[in-house]
Symmetry: C2
Subunit: 443 residues, 2 copies
């Protein structure tokens, strides 16, 4: 409170992500004002639209200020505004043969920040959403352990827990783009992604208690839904950062996320993060089940299938504008391009943005914390003069990996893929402000 | 993946908060196994309860695994499990004279992690919850600015945004304890607290664009609900970290949190974070309105009222066990004491736990990130042999401040307070596992 006011006014900073704030405050460093110097225009334009009558302030006193509102506790478990009913998960109707083994997508076009509310977290099921009574829940741990055991939910909750923020992604996210389905929708192209704070017990804590036998190199987690989904997990990942999760964004897991307990493997394919978990078996070798042999493998150019490609590489997409949230109602002048970047292998260190289809690139700014294996927010300020643009983003993570172009990815993997597509996405902005999903291939 | 498995098994760590993980991974440091060495007991006890038939695995194949689940997208905006219907906000019926100017409390006894879901974020209203049509929303900025302006919601959203995680707290949180109301409920004693990721525009960004005049030392934000709540905010806070917030935990603000735009002042009293914001006026001096003169001042021992005490000092409370979630069904043996700590002035640096009413203290472990002006999770492992305990937690933040005892706080402030109560809270655990809210005063 002892800083001189005028100094503060002259030394403001546009972007103030939480990870930088502590350093900023500690060092007393004043960041550049350059980013904000050319923002003028909103105030002027806005002022032109609305006449201010100084004898009648505030200017509007609409119905909502003239009568009592609803009771404070009218909705003990709340819900969004009635004006936000369009913000929901959606299916791609032709994608799956039935409604049980299907997927509903996260509406990234309407989201801000890095936390996805539980009600909007994408859902992928193989046998439908089941309702487990937590009092009847049991987890069997068996195979190469010192003693087979069965744990109740209360047993699991007695172990020390951790709470961490991480992304969740289906291996098929963006998969419809391999062969150019050209869905004109961000929700359809990148909606099999979410990010949440999860709470649960590190599996290594339970395994220290139970005792692994020598030779336990793989773990088989199995769900108790009618599909009984399972995958083989290498023991190194289990002991690194695998978590038995029972809470998400503060509250109990939702049924469609595996209530009451799911496996969570930060940064790895969603299908491995078994929901409605009923057992963990340990053995010397992997099980070669359906979801890692005929499914969730990557068809390569020469026709071979690549197995055991678990962690996601760096990826990003522009969320504003996008086909669902275009610039048709936008004025000329400065405008923000915003997006998300994520990596299953580390922390996002840089995002570049292009407005000319990848010919030139400029560094975007981070507008959220940059956490490992989590969604990170970026923004890039540009001018739009009702001109057409080809806008793209490309992310780099702390492994040094940078997202490939669609051409580079096709050259490396062929065009018959389904999984792990992380090519640079292009949105075409037309001069009327319409935004379309387009594919650019270099010759 | 090149770490030797046996090394990993021998060098596991109980608690792995996100802030430490990056250092851990970078340095290759292997943390202590001491914390987990004495966890044995859960596995043994669990195994004793359930007989495992090796010819019939997994052990239970209940109804939920024998028929298809619900359609994947049966609930496009999802909701919690039907087994979690008890997790809701609640009122203290006698606390307020009516249901419009009232408060509903966050159910911390059922929450995990640091993010509070939007539907469970406590609500304090002065004239009820109103529904604003975002297309009709207007924000007037006037007074000592270069030009008065009116902004629409779209105007506000065009400015560069930030997303940060911070706590929210009502100044009256824990206030009923001053005179020992002795509500036997964590939800009632500490439920006017929440923590969320918020997204919006730093006010300094807008003010750089609009232009403050010399002499603008205070800002008056006013809500458009029927109560028209307003407070005087010093310009230093406005230019430090005030945010015009339009999204919370990824989605649009909820109506009860001020949809479509509220003011947010990290770490300061909730009543200042004006909801349904309709104007910001700038002037040379404060306005001395009701909510900073007859209300939201602190009565001191000598009968004077202390004004302008904005930021919250360090505070903490144990969330498990608590009166609503006791140990009556718990077995003898090791047991986790879990809780939350927060400060409006900085970052929590330490939490101590006592099981003997404050005679001796031991350091708890953090089980979440420690972010500035945000809720932080801690846990403490102890043994419970069906003995009675007086359990307490006390938090320290990076200003060096440590939570006072109830006696110390009363000695400093008297007993007639309502606001900013952050005394060490005591839960009595009885030998039968019941937990009660008790007050300990040193002679």
């Amino acid at each position: 409170m002892k800083i001189k006011k005028d100094e503060l006014i002259e030394n403001i900073n546009t972007v103030d992500p939480q990870t930088k704030r502590r350093e900023f405050l500690k060092k007393g460093v004043v960041l550049s004002t350059a980013a904000i110097a050319s923002l003028g225009g909103i105030a002027t334009n806005a002022n032109a639209k609305y006449k201010i009558d100084k004898n009648n302030l505030p200017p509007n006193n609409p119905a909502w200020g003239l009568k009592w509102g609803r009771d404070t506790n009218h909705d003990p478990y709340g819900s969004p505004s009635k004006f936000e009913k369009h913000v929901v998960r959606r299916e791609v109707p032709w994608l799956t043969a039935d409604k049980k083994a299907s997927v509903s997508f996260t509406p990234w076009q309407d989201l801000k920040g890095i936390i996805v509310p539980n009600g909007l977290h994408f859902t992928r099921c193989h046998g439908g959403v089941i309702d487990i009574n937590p009092k009847e829940y049991r987890l069997l741990i068996h195979g190469l352990v010192k003693k087979d055991i069965i744990l109740t939910l209360e047993d699991i909750k007695r172990y020390p827990s951790v709470s961490v923020i991480h992304s969740f992604e289906c291996a098929a996210n963006n998969g419809m783009e391999w062969r150019g389905a050209n869905l004109n929708s961000l929700q359809a192209t990148h909606g099999m992604l979410a990010c949440s704070e999860v709470t649960g017990v590190p599996l290594r804590t339970i395994l220290e208690d139970v005792g692994l036998k020598k030779g336990a190199k793989w773990m088989f987690p199995e769900g108790s839904d009618p599909a009984g989904v399972g995958r083989s997990i290498p023991i190194e990942k289990v002991l690194d950062d695998a978590i038995l999760v029972y809470a998400q964004n503060g509250e109990a897991l939702r049924p469609e996320q595996g209530y009451p307990v799911r496996l969570f493997l930060p940064g790895w394919e969603g299908v491995m993060q078994i929901k409605w978990l009923r057992r963990l078996k340990f053995d010397t070798k992997s099980w070669m089940v359906r979801e890692e042999s005929t499914k969730y493998t990557m068809l390569t150019k020469d026709g071979h299938a690549l197995m055991y490609n678990w962690a996601f590489s760096a990826n990003s997409v522009i969320t504003s504008p996008c086909p669902e949230r275009d610039w048709r109602d936008k004025k000329r002048g400065f405008i923000m391009i915003e997006g998300i970047a994520w990596s299953g292998k580390g922390t996002i260190t840089a995002v570049d943005v292009s407005i000319d289809g990848g010919k030139t690139w400029k560094l975007a700014q981070f507008t959220s914390m940059q956490l490992p294996k989590a969604v990170t927010r970026f923004a890039f300020k540009t001018k739009w003069n009702k001109n057409s643009m080809m806008i793209q983003s490309r992310a780099t993570d702390d492994t040094g990996f940078t997202q490939p172009t669609a051409t580079q990815l096709n050259n490396a993997r062929g065009k018959e893929g389904i999984y792990h597509r992380n090519a640079i996405q292009t949105w075409e902005v037309k001069s009327n402000g319409e935004v379309n999903n387009v594919h650019i291939y270099e010759s």
